[in-house]
């Protein structure tokens, strides 16, 4: 490294520790993802969804947010985001195994249905895009109360066609609410490719219909996402209203453990995407700027593996919910 080359992450105000933390989060998300796939194919986890290929975009935006101040209404792939917001590897595994200790739902919901008041994660459901108006409502409430925060919500490009997306954007635009609409455009909504899914060139263009800016960013460029995120957040906190950030990523795995993607895309396309995978690209950058060395990388991988192993063992041994508890919490106790 030469002295004249400015370090990109430093320019963005990120320290070496912070970018390493970002990378670690991405690694952990990936490791958990791969472990859960394994366990699913081994017949131990009945159903999982994947974030593989989207960790970079997620880490970028998650680290731009303030996990002590902001609220998130993520969608089911946002594993790296919820990890940044405080969920642990054990939490994720407990959810995968549907154990009673699962903090998201006590084993009531499928994996990927995140929720934790403690970690400012709004509880999500399966009908897509319903969380988008929730984020807007949360931002509205904060505004009424005069509290300074940002509400983040994420969704795929397919979900951005739901009425709730448009209604929510319009509402947020009219009332200039501090919302980050984060669209993870991974090119496939289950099997339907982008061309069949969306009529416009760029999802980001939709924002102009709702009176606020939209920006399309390379989802594999962690720092670019981070920057777009910071800009949007500052705008929002200054009363400038919402931003729609379209992150161009790629869904490396099938939609879920129940999907077979060989039916609708080629292996070559997937392999190409793997080469552009943010995990690969960001690691390369970190090595280049000397934040990651061969030994520190090996150690990091070892730590993450251990963490995943521990989480798996813990969740495997944990108790399933009591059947009678199914009657609880229909209403306030």
């Amino acid at each position: 490294m030469t002295e004249e080359t400015s370090v990109r992450h430093h320019e963005l105000g990120l320290s070496d520790e912070e970018v390493l933390d970002m990378y670690r989060t991405m690694l952990l998300a990936r490791a958990l993802d791969e472990r859960m796939w394994l366990l699913n194919r081994a017949g131990k986890l009945p159903f999982i969804v994947s974030c593989k290929g989207q960790e970079g975009a997620q880490a970028g935006i998650a680290f731009a947010l303030d996990n002590t101040r902001d609220f998130i209404a993520p969608y089911y792939r946002d594993l790296a985001v919820v990890l940044r917001f405080g969920q642990t590897a054990r939490d994720v595994m407990l959810s995968g195994y549907a154990r009673r200790e699962d903090p998201n739902s006590g084993g009531r919901q499928m994996p990927g249905h995140f929720g934790s008041r403690e970690h400012r994660i709004l509880s999500g459901s399966s009908p897509v895009a319903t969380q988008i108006p929730h984020a807007v409502g949360l931002a509205l409430a904060a505004k009424i109360r005069g509290e300074r925060l940002v509400a983040y919500t994420s969704f795929g490009e397919g979900s951005s066609n739901q009425g709730d997306f448009h209604e929510a954007c319009n509402f947020a635009g009219v009332h200039k609410l501090p919302v980050i609409f984060f669209c993870e455009n991974n090119y496939y909504a289950i099997s339907v490719p982008l061309a069949r899914q969306v009529a416009c060139e760029r999802l980001a263009d939709r924002a102009s219909g709702y009176g606020f800016p939209g920006i399309t960013v390379d989802g594999n460029d962690v720092l670019a996402i981070y920057k777009a995120g910071r800009d949007a957040i500052e705008r929002a906190l200054d009363g400038g209203g919402p931003t729609l950030i379209e992150a161009l990523t790629y869904r490396i795995n099938p939609h879920s453990s129940d999907d077979d993607d060989r039916a609708y895309r080629s292996r070559e396309e997937v392999d190409l995407a793997k080469q552009k995978d943010a995990l690969v690209v960001f690691a390369e950058y970190l090595r280049q700027v000397g934040v990651l060395t061969a030994s520190s990388e090996a150690q990091l991988i070892q730590e993450v593996t251990t963490e995943v192993d521990d989480a798996t063992a813990y969740a495997e041994a944990a108790l399933s919910p009591d059947p009678a508890d199914a009657m609880k919490f229909v209403y306030a106790p």
Binding site: N104, S105, R108, S123, S125, A135, V136, G137, A168, Y331
Partner: protein
């Protein structure tokens, strides 16, 4: 205590509670500057400001979805759907989200939301401004549904709804807005959700009803008393949860039950009330459980003769009561 119109009692409840609790705000179409198309929210924006009385864009799913997000955060929103007939775009938010928020998060998150919607017909509202939709929602665990028939109950139940930690659908009959006035307590007045009201004690037949029909029933009861028939009248007030104990006790009182509701018959609230009575009071029944309801057509038409055909009336109700008493 003061004699108030049903519509004024609703406004009273909103005003009283909004003064008492800063976390309550109102949002819906035309609720602010216009004061609501029926003028229910008239005066609120002047008193509480546009931050707490929000004229929302024309998008029901967003109105409810945004309210859900605000409720999750800790506010107590009162969302208005302009006509119950238009609640359908918001059903996904109501049933998938509001009703399940507490359950799916294992009591971590909750949704203290009130949704108000005028419903009901007999006002030349035609197919899409007259419907009764309570039967869609009373089937959904996690929701509460209330339908007041008096001004006092309107105030008391709405205050109870605003204080409830779970989502409550408050269906107000638009025909009752200016038709009904009764004594409404000033200030603090809460009617608990889940408790029916015995309007009249009687010995010959039992009539179970709610909404506008509660008034028609009482008119019919007066006529029948001249004929020597004594009716025991229960106003459900709460549709979810139903007051099972009151229903069974009322059925046992006479053994002859007539359920009256404006909504069409099949799958309506009367079906569940019948099932409850059959389950718990079979050996007290002196006649098959009778239901007098709207016909099974999609909605009441605009033209007067057909609207009249659809709508029940005190005369129709009286005739059904006579038949049951004679059985």
């Amino acid at each position: 205590m003061a004699i108030k119109l049903y519509i004024d009692a609703i406004r009273d409840a909103l005003q009283y509670e909004m003064r008492r609790d800063e976390s309550i705000f109102v949002l819906g179409e035309d609720v602010g500057v216009r004061g609501g198309v029926f003028r229910v929210t008239q005066g609120l924006i002047e008193e509480f400001g546009e931050a707490r009385v929000i004229d929302a864009p024309l998008a029901e799913s967003a109105i409810v979805g945004v309210a859900i997000g605000a409720a999750a955060y800790g506010m107590r929103p009162v969302a208005e759907i302009q006509f119950a007939d238009f609640i359908l775009p918001a059903v996904n938010q109501i049933i998938s989200e509001a009703a399940k928020m507490r359950y799916r998060s294992n009591n971590d998150w909750s949704c203290p939301l009130v949704i108000r919607a005028p419903f009901g017909g007999g006002v030349h509202g035609a197919l899409y401004h007259s419907q009764s939709l309570e039967a869609l929602f009373y089937h959904v665990p996690g929701l509460k549904v209330v339908i007041p028939s008096t001004a006092a109950d309107a105030k008391g139940l709405l205050i109870a709804a605003m204080r409830d930690p779970d989502p409550v659908l408050f269906f107000e009959h638009k025909g009752l807005y200016r038709l009904v006035k009764d004594d409404v307590p000033d200030g603090e007045h809460v009617v608990p959700i889940g408790k029916a009201a015995l309007r009249r004690e009687g010995t010959d037949i039992t009539v179970i009803t709610y909404g506008l029909m509660a008034h028609y029933v009482l008119e019919a009861v007066k006529d029948l008393e001249q004929e020597g028939i004594s009716a025991h009248v229960l106003d459900l007030r709460s549709i979810l949860p139903l007051d099972r104990d009151a229903i069974v006790a009322a059925a046992r009182q006479t053994g002859k039950v007539l359920i009256v509701h404006e909504d069409n018959k099949t799958g309506g609230v009367g079906a569940e009330v019948s099932a409850i009575i059959a389950e718990e009071a079979l050996f007290d029944l002196d006649a098959p459980i009778a239901r007098l309801c709207g016909p099974d057509i999609p909605a009441m038409p605009f033209n007067a003769p057909q609207e009249k055909f659809y709508m029940l009336s005190p005369a129709k109700i009286a005739e059904a009561m006579r038949q049951l008493a004679a059985f």
